[in-house]
Amino acid sequence: MISLRNVGKAFPNGVVALRDVDLEISKGEFAFLVGPSGAGKSTLLRLLFREDVPTTGVVSVNGHDVGRMRRRQIPFLRRQIGVVFQDFRLLPQRTVTENIAFALRVVEVHPKEIKRRVAQVLDLVGLPDRAGALPGQLSGGEQQRVALARAMVGRPLVLLADEPTGNLDPVNAAEMMKTLLEINRLGTTVVMATHAAHLVDRARQRVVAMVDGQIRRDELAASYSEGVVE
């Protein structure tokens, strides 16, 4: 489903965020992306939905060469990928409902169907009573949950989650983790960049650990820190 080969990313200002990254994630897999601040996790995710292009190497998602894809193709790639952004990226002048519905409106789903599915995901993230609020009227954690709701409402093939529990209390974080694992169980490939060691340790899924733009460790059913045995 996702494959990176020899991927490097250097920014115009000289910062090298990724160095020679090789990574394969199969359809239906769940992978944690861990590593210190600035390791290149978000940069790697950004390459997958073509928010940025690699400087070297080939990134492919669902068989498409994402880095060399034609401009016109990009929207169709993105519709197959749900993203929970580290900084949420909600439309500030639209309500929670509108923000979530937007992901369905761009694919021209029928309004009735949109209504049904938005209500469903809002329920899932525990925010049915904040449906009419604007993002600015939500707490940090609530915004984060809306971002997750938007990412999954389109039933994407791939779900990318960048630090999706950073603003959540332990109870809500565990809930969100459960939701992500459930989505994965239903067939969606999930890649989650996170610093939440306890969530990683408890989930016992594949862990890809990055340091300084390189992959240091890639283990199945692993924990956050190297060599920790449960």
Binding site: P75, R78, R89, L91, P92, F102, R105, V106, E108
Partner: protein, 295 residues
């Protein structure tokens, strides 16, 4: 695009307008003002043209023939003059006609001429109107060189000054007109660009959740058209209504100002304003699409 997509774009455009009232009002007012000024300018021009075209037709260069000149010779001179490029019209005024004209021109003072009795001291002449006031002087010179012509005269200082005025208005006016059109385009284009810049973040997010370029573009196009339409209709209504009021007022207080009638002129200008507004909106958008793609 499907119908649902169209209605989506339209409702997007609508919501954007309602959510950014400052930008919307700014665009509408600047469009309206630009077009209104352009419209007023066109109306002014129409009036100047009506008055000047009346007067222009009256300015003639008169070339007087020797009293001995034969009619045939005069006719061949007329035929030649009519071929000159600077000539709008030419005709022969016989000495009999000239005296009649003179008498009628004198009007109240015609009694002065009664002492002439049946004698007629005037000459036959060729009366030529030029295509433009600038042609009058060279035309007079050329007429002086015709065989049989002894004297050339053309009209008084007042008329010359009038043409100075008309020319000044036309030259400066053309400049103002072009500038106004460019200005309106600039203002509308700026409004659209500012709209794009101030919604940069939103556009980026829309793209990130899979909106196609046309879904990103069309709300802007429609928004531009709506703004252009509102602004230009506003300008058109004010221009038409204002001109009609001016016309009525002028007819009462200044009966000797023969303004151009509101219909068809002001109506046509109003229609032109609306067409221009929508057109400018579309052109303004075209110029901004690259900017939008770069956002």
């Amino acid at each position: 695009m499907r119908l649902r997509t169209w209605s989506f774009c339209l409702s997007e455009a609508n919501q954007n307008l309602l959510r950014n009232p400052v930008l919307a009002i700014a665009s509408i007012t600047t469009t309206a003002v630009s077009l209104l000024v352009l419209g007023m300018f066109l109306l002014l021009t129409a009036n100047v043209n009506q008055i000047t075209s009346n007067i222009e037709n009256q300015v003639a260069v008169r070339a007087f023939f020797k009293q001995s000149t034969k009619t045939a010779q005069e006719q061949s001179a007329l035929a030649e003059v009519r071929k000159w490029p600077k000539v709008r019209s030419a005709k022969i005024i016989t000495r009999q006609e000239a005296l009649r004209q003179l008498k009628s021109e004198f009007g109240d003072q015609a009694s002065v001429l009664n002492s002439l009795g049946t004698a007629n001291p005037l000459e036959d002449s060729l009366s030529v109107t030029a295509k433009s006031p600038a042609d009058v002087a060279p035309l007079a010179k050329s007429l002086g060189n015709l065989t049989g012509v002894v004297k050339v005269s053309y009209q008084s200082q007042v008329v010359t000054r009038l043409f100075s005025l008309i020319n000044a208005i036309r030259i400066v006016g053309l400049g103002i007109g072009i500038l106004l059109l460019l200005g309106a385009l600039l203002v509308i284009n700026n409004a659209i660009r500012l709209g794009i810049v101030s919604r940069r973040r939103e556009i980026a997010i829309m793209r990130l959740v899979g909106a196609t370029e046309s879904l990103v573009h069309w709300p802007f196009i429609l928004e531009g058209l709506i703004l252009g339409l509102i602004g230009s209709v506003l300008a058109a209504v004010i221009a038409w209504w204002g001109y009609a009021a001016l016309y009525t007022g002028a007819a009462h207080s200044l009966p000797f100002v023969p303004l151009v009638t509101p219909i068809p002129t002001a109506r046509d200008v109003a229609v032109l304003i609306v067409v221009l507004g929508v057109l400018l909106g579309a052109v303004g958008f075209r110029l901004s699409v690259r900017r939008l793609a770069r956002v």
